[in-house]
Amino acid sequence: MSSSTRPPASALHCPTTGSVPARPGFIVPPYLLARLAEADAHGMPRAAEAARRSLLADPALRVERERAAVATPAAPASVWAAATPTVRRTIFDAGNAESLPGRPVRDETDAPADDVAVNEAFEGLGATYALLLEAFGRDSVDGAGLPLLATVHYGRDYDNAFWDGERMVFGDGDGEVFGRFTASLSVIGHELAHGVTQYTAGLVYEGQSGALNESFSDVLGALVEQHQRGQRAEEASWLIGEGLFTEAVQGRALRSMSEPGTAYDDDVLGKDPQPADMAGYVDTRDDNGGVHLNSGIPNRAFALAATELGGFAWERAGRVWYDALVGAPGAPAPVSPRATFAEFAAATVTAAHARFGAESTEASAIDRAWRTVGVRSDDDPR
């Protein structure tokens, strides 16, 4: 089958009008696009730019895409019925205690605070919201405009950031190994992505499904950073948590998606333990069954596929990963909460067929990437 005989689902593929590329997932009604096009007055220049571009795209195709979106669980009807999707952020300060949420210190309408962690969290939430809306047509973490909450200055010398089920929480770091955790946009995106997973596939946080949960957070974290910088896949660092380590640490970042196991090698931190393929899969009871270790395997599959495809990673590989996680036309159910690597890989291939066509470069690049990391084998259909 040649590319000219793609199935009808390829109508979902990114349409182009003249030289203006529209983003495949940007499925927003015209009135809303008009509002969004003004959004840069409210500090959302990327949303505004994307909206302007989509307004120029073929209206008939947009109607097609809207129709498809109605069948997508990730885009509930309320998105269309409710008011304009608008980011609503509140940042709290835990004051170095470990109780949540802390004291509210910056709301959506407030001017920047005199606190870099507060402002980084605020901007990071905005950048993540912008990626979800512009790339995937998703209004916030739950797809229905959920307000975004973050707490900074959690604990004393606290070397971590986490998602607690409702909000992102950031420590200041100990100052010797880690600095403040808001310093990395990929980490902010990573934490909010845990919320997206929670509201969609609900991947159970242990073993392989937990590693997939972790990996999707790294994927989204990387995409938020690339999207904010306007970076193409081939220009991206594929690092998660770049800039968190102090200068004393021998390391670049927490993880490398393109080269798992190479992010750091340090006296205190040891060597980056992530495997790059199934041969190195780590069996352990620690870390919820190695969720932050084995995530290196699906991470690398994503980075391989995205760099082979080139361009903006959220438009093709990212779109497919998102479809597999939340369910999409042609691949209607999200992956199961206990999905294995193999099941998730199969879901991405199915999603790629549905969105880009069975003979598409997207489908073959994604299939090949999973084979390279040892998740798919010759037994799996191409």
């Binding site: 986490f162 242990e206 205190v268 040891g270 870390d287 969720v291 270790l293 909460p337």
Partner: protein, 179 residues
């Protein structure tokens, strides 16, 4: 190296030595070595299984003095942190051999709810306990009797005596690099 000798007992940790020793023996039952069960028949709470006193303490009452001084009656506690955004973490180890130290650590150990089910044992809990990227603490105690107990406690549940124990081991213990 995995041990750190001569750690001072944490201030304020010294509680009644007799209670501590007896309690240690009783709650050690959960992870009882097969051989120990013979005499202690199920080791119900409050029973007095021997804690290394087969040779030098014939009585069934918990030894509160001499036998804990014996050479080899060393207590070791390790706290290993995993999880978090990074996945790996440091491990802290504290070792006590002086009687007063052993007793004060034991009283702290005994105050922890070792018999509570581990959240990790109920897989569904992993999805609902809330959140992601939280730390998980693996706590191991090597009792003077050579028995061993361990528990895995997620950060969200690290409160009360667990929190006291982990904080004191961190403060007093020797830290090793991430693993």
């Amino acid at each position: 190296m995995t041990t750190h000798d001569d750690d001072p007992a944490p201030p304020g940790a010294a509680r009644g030595a007799e209670q501590a020793t007896g309690g240690a023996a009783a709650t050690a039952a959960r992870d009882a070595e097969p051989h120990r069960g013979g005499a202690a028949t199920g080791a119900a709470p409050g029973s007095r299984p021997a804690t290394g006193d087969d040779s030098d303490s014939a009585g069934s009452e918990p030894a509160t003095g001499d036998d804990s001084d014996a050479a080899g009656s060393e207590l070791r506690i390790t706290v290993a942190r995993s999880g978090g955004l990074l996945g790996t973490g440091p491990r802290w180890t504290v070792t006590a051999s002086a009687e007063a130290d052993v007793d004060s650590w034991l009283s702290l150990v005994e105050s922890c709810p070792w018999d509570a089910p581990e959240p990790g044992d109920a897989p569904a809990a992993a999805a609902t306990v809330g959140g992601a990227d939280r730390f998980v603490y693996t706590i191991r105690v090597f009792l003077p009797s050579a028995e061993e107990r361990d528990a895995r406690v997620p950060e969200q549940r690290l409160d009360g005596p667990w929190r006291d124990l982990v904080d004191r081991v961190k403060d007093a213990g020797h830290a090793e690099p991430h693993r």
